[in-house]
Amino acid sequence: MDEGTAIRIRGLCTQFGAQRVHDDLDLDVRRGEILGVVGGSGTGKSVLLRQMLGLMRPAAGQIEVLGYDLAHMGRNAWKSLRARQGVLFQDGALFSSLTVAQNVQAPMRERQPLSPDLLRDLAALKIALAGLPPHACDKYPSELSGGMRKRAGLARALALDPDILFLDEPTAGLDPIGAADFDRLIRGLQQSLGLTVVMVTHDLDSLAAICDRIAALVDKRATVGTLEQLRAADDPWLKTYFSGPRGRAALAGDAMSKPLMDGRV
C-alpha cells in the first residue's frame, strides 16, 4: 500500500443469508481527500462503513486502513488504529450519562493520564473546534439539539486528532442552514487538520459542496469519480440520482456557492 492511500478495499463480498450486498467491491480512499459514499437504500453503505471500522467482518475480501490489514490484527494494533480514526455516528452516539466535556475526555483518559486542568482545557478546545459554544461543555446530550449533538459527536471524534474521520450521514436531520454550516465545518477542519474523510451521505448539497470524489454503490460494486464524472456516467441509477430535480437543484446551488467556499471558514 503506497503512502497516498488511506484505505484500500479489494474484492470485498458481503452476504446476508441468500442476499449478496457487495460482490467483489474495490475501493481506494486517498489520503487528505473527502470521499462521499452514496447508494440507494439497501446497497450496503452503512455496512461498508461498519466494515471499514472493523465493527463487522466481510464474507470475503481485504480491507486495509492506514496500512493495517483489518482481518489480521492483535489487540495492540487495534488500539493504535483506533487512536488514528474518529467516527461520528448518525445521531452522535454520545454517552448519555456523561456531559459533553466528559464525552470528549473519554478517549483521552483512555490513552494516557492527564491532569484535570489539562483535560478540561483540551476538551474545551475540541468542543470549540467543533463549533459549539463554551457553555455546551457541561450539558448532557439529552439537553442538546440534534445539530449540537452532532457537533458534540464530532468533538469526540476529533479528541485524539485522528488521521481518518468517518461520518455517517453527518447532515441528516439538520436544517439546510445547519447542514451547510456543518459542511463548511468539516471542510475547514479537513483542510487545517489534514484529515482524510469518508462520509456516507444522501445530501446532494454536501456531495456537491465538499466531496472531492464520490463512491456510488451500484450493482454491488463501487463506482468512484468526481461529481462531473459520475454525472456523465451511463448507469441508469446514477443518471436518476444526479439528474433528478433534487440533483439538479443541488448542482446549480453548488455553482453559485462555489466562490463562498474558497474563503477560510
Binding site: 493520564p113 489539562l118 483540551l122 478546545l125 470549540a128 461543555c137 439529552s142 477542519l189 487538520l193
Partner: protein, 395 residues
C-alpha cells in the same frame, strides 16, 4: 550576573517515536526557546510541565523578548498547536514580547485554526458541600416522593376508568396482545416459580422438622408447611418473582417504545395509551398471577411433603390426612385472593415507570430499577395490610 546564562536542557521522555521537546536558553532579557520533536497528544503532559518551567522563568522578564523557534517540530496536532498558542498568550500576558516565526505551512494552518476558535474554558459547576447538599437532597427527595405518589395515583385513576370502559364494551379489549402477554408472564414463568416454590417447601419442612422434633411434635411440620405456603409464602414469593420478571419487562418494553417515540405515535394516531399498552399487560398479569400462585402452592406442598417423607418418615398418605385436618378452604382462598391485587400493583407500577421514560437509554435502566423496587415494596405493604384485614375479619 549580566553574562550568566541559564539553560534548561530537555532530557526528553523515553517514549517511542520522537518525543516532544522544549528547550530554552536565557541571556539577560532574551529567552530563546526551541521546540522540537512530536508536539502531539501523546507528549502533552511532558510539554505542559516544561512550559510551566518556562513561564516560571519568564515572570521577571517584563519588557524582555522570547524567541520561539519551531524548526525542530516533526509532528503537530491540535493539542500541540494549542499548547504553543497557550505559551504564546501566557508569555504575552506577562508583558514579554514574543516572536514565533512559523515556517511550516501545515503548522501555520493548525495554529491559525486554534487561534480562530480562541475559546473560554467554562468553570466546572461547583457542587454545594456537605450539610447543605444533604439537606438539599433530602428536601428534593421528599418532594419528589410526594409528587411521584400523586402522579401514580392519577395514573391509577386513569387506568381504572379505562378498565371499566373496556369491561363495559369488551370489544375494545385487545385479545391478541392479551394472549401474548399471558404467554410471556404466565407460561414462561412456570419453571422458575415452580422451582422456587418447591425449594422453599423443602427448606420449610426441613427447618420446621428440626425445631418441632424437640417437642415430639414432628407431625405438625405438615401444618406448618401447609398453612404458611398457602396463606403467605406461595403468593408472596410468586409476586416477588413476577415483579422482578414481568414488572421490569413491562417497564423496559414500554420505555424502549418511549425512547423510540412510539408512544407519541400511538397518541397521534388517536389511540389510548392505557388501552393499547397498559390494559393488555395488566389483565394478562391479573389472570396469570393467581394461576402461578396456585402452581406455587402445589409445588410448595409437594416439596414439603417430599421432605417430610424423607426426614420424618411421614408417608404421603399421612401427610395428606394431616393436611386435611390442618387447613380448610379459607386458608387457600386467603392466599389466592391477594394475587389479582398484587398483579394489579405490579402491572400498574411497571407500566407507569415505562411511560415515565424520557430521552435516553440511561433512563430506561433507571426506571426499570425503580419499577422493581417500588412494586416489590408495594406488594409487601399490601400483604401487611391484608394480614391486618384478615385478622380483623377473624379469617
Amino acid at each position: 550576573m549580566t553574562s550568566a546564562a541559564i539553560t534548561g536542557a530537555d532530557a526528553g521522555v523515553m517514549e517511542p517515536a520522537r518525543p516532544g521537546k522544549l528547550e530554552w536558553r536565557r541571556e539577560d532579557t532574551t529567552l530563546t526557546v526551541s521546540a522540537g520533536g512530536g508536539w502531539t497528544f501523546d507528549h502533552l503532559p511532558h510539554l505542559d510541565r516544561r512550559q510551566a518551567e518556562i513561564l516560571n522563568l519568564a515572570t521577571d522578564m517584563r519588557g524582555g523578548t522570547v524567541l520561539i523557534g519551531l524548526g525542530g517540530i516533526t509532528a503537530m496536532d491540535t493539542s500541540g498547536a494549542w499548547l504553543l498558542h497557550r505559551l504564546q498568550s501566557r508569555l504575552t500576558a506577562l508583558g514579554v514580547r514574543v516572536e514565533m516565526p512559523i515556517g511550516d505551512e501545515r503548522h501555520r494552518a493548525l495554529l491559525a485554526e486554534v487561534q480562530r476558535v480562541a475559546f473560554d474554558v467554562p468553570t466546572e459547576p461547583a457542587l454545594p458541600g456537605g450539610l447543605i447538599r444533604l439537606v438539599n437532597e433530602l428536601g428534593k427527595g421528599a418532594i419528589d416522593a410526594v409528587v411521584e405518589g400523586a402522579r401514580l395515583l392519577s395514573f391509577f385513576g386513569w387506568t381504572v376508568l379505562t378498565l371499566i370502559r373496556s369491561l363495559v364494551s369488551p370489544g375494545r379489549l385487545r385479545l391478541t396482545s392479551l394472549t401474548h402477554h399471558l404467554e410471556q408472564t404466565c407460561l414462561h414463568a412456570l419453571p422458575i416459580v415452580g422451582l422456587i416454590a418447591f425449594l422453599i417447601g423443602v427448606v420449610m419442612a426441613y427447618q420446621g422438622a428440626d425445631q418441632l422434633r424437640r417437642f415430639g411434635a414432628e407431625i405438625f411440620t405438615v401444618d406448618l408447611v401447609g398453612v404458611s405456603v398457602l396463606r403467605e409464602i406461595g403468593i408472596l414469593l410468586t409476586a416477588i418473582v413476577v415483579a422482578g420478571r414481568s414488572g421490569s419487562a413491562f417497564t423496559a418494553e414500554i420505555g424502549a417504545m418511549a425512547v423510540n417515540q412510539e408512544i407519541d405515535a400511538i397518541k397521534t394516531l388517536g389511540l389510548d395509551v392505557v388501552e393499547v399498552l397498559v390494559l393488555p399487560r395488566m389483565l394478562a398479569l391479573m389472570i396469570a398471577l393467581p394461576l402461578l400462585a396456585f402452581f406455587a402452592d402445589i409445588l410448595g406442598l409437594f416439596g414439603g411433603g417430599l421432605m417430610a417423607w424423607v426426614v420424618l418418615d411421614i408417608t404421603p398418605g399421612q401427610f395428606l390426612n394431616q393436611l386435611d385436618d390442618a387447613i380448610e378452604p379459607a386458608t387457600f382462598w386467603v392466599g389466592i385472593i391477594k394475587a389479582p391485587v398484587f398483579a394489579f400493583l405490579i402491572a400498574l407500577v411497571g407500566c407507569y415507570q415505562g411511560l415515565l421514560v424520557s430521552g435516553s437509554a440511561d433512563s430506561v435502566g433507571r426506571n426499570t430499577t425503580a419499577s422493581v423496587v417500588i412494586s416489590i415494596f408495594l406488594v409487601i405493604v399490601f400483604d401487611a395490610l391484608f394480614s391486618i384485614l384478615f385478622s380483623a375479619l377473624g379469617v
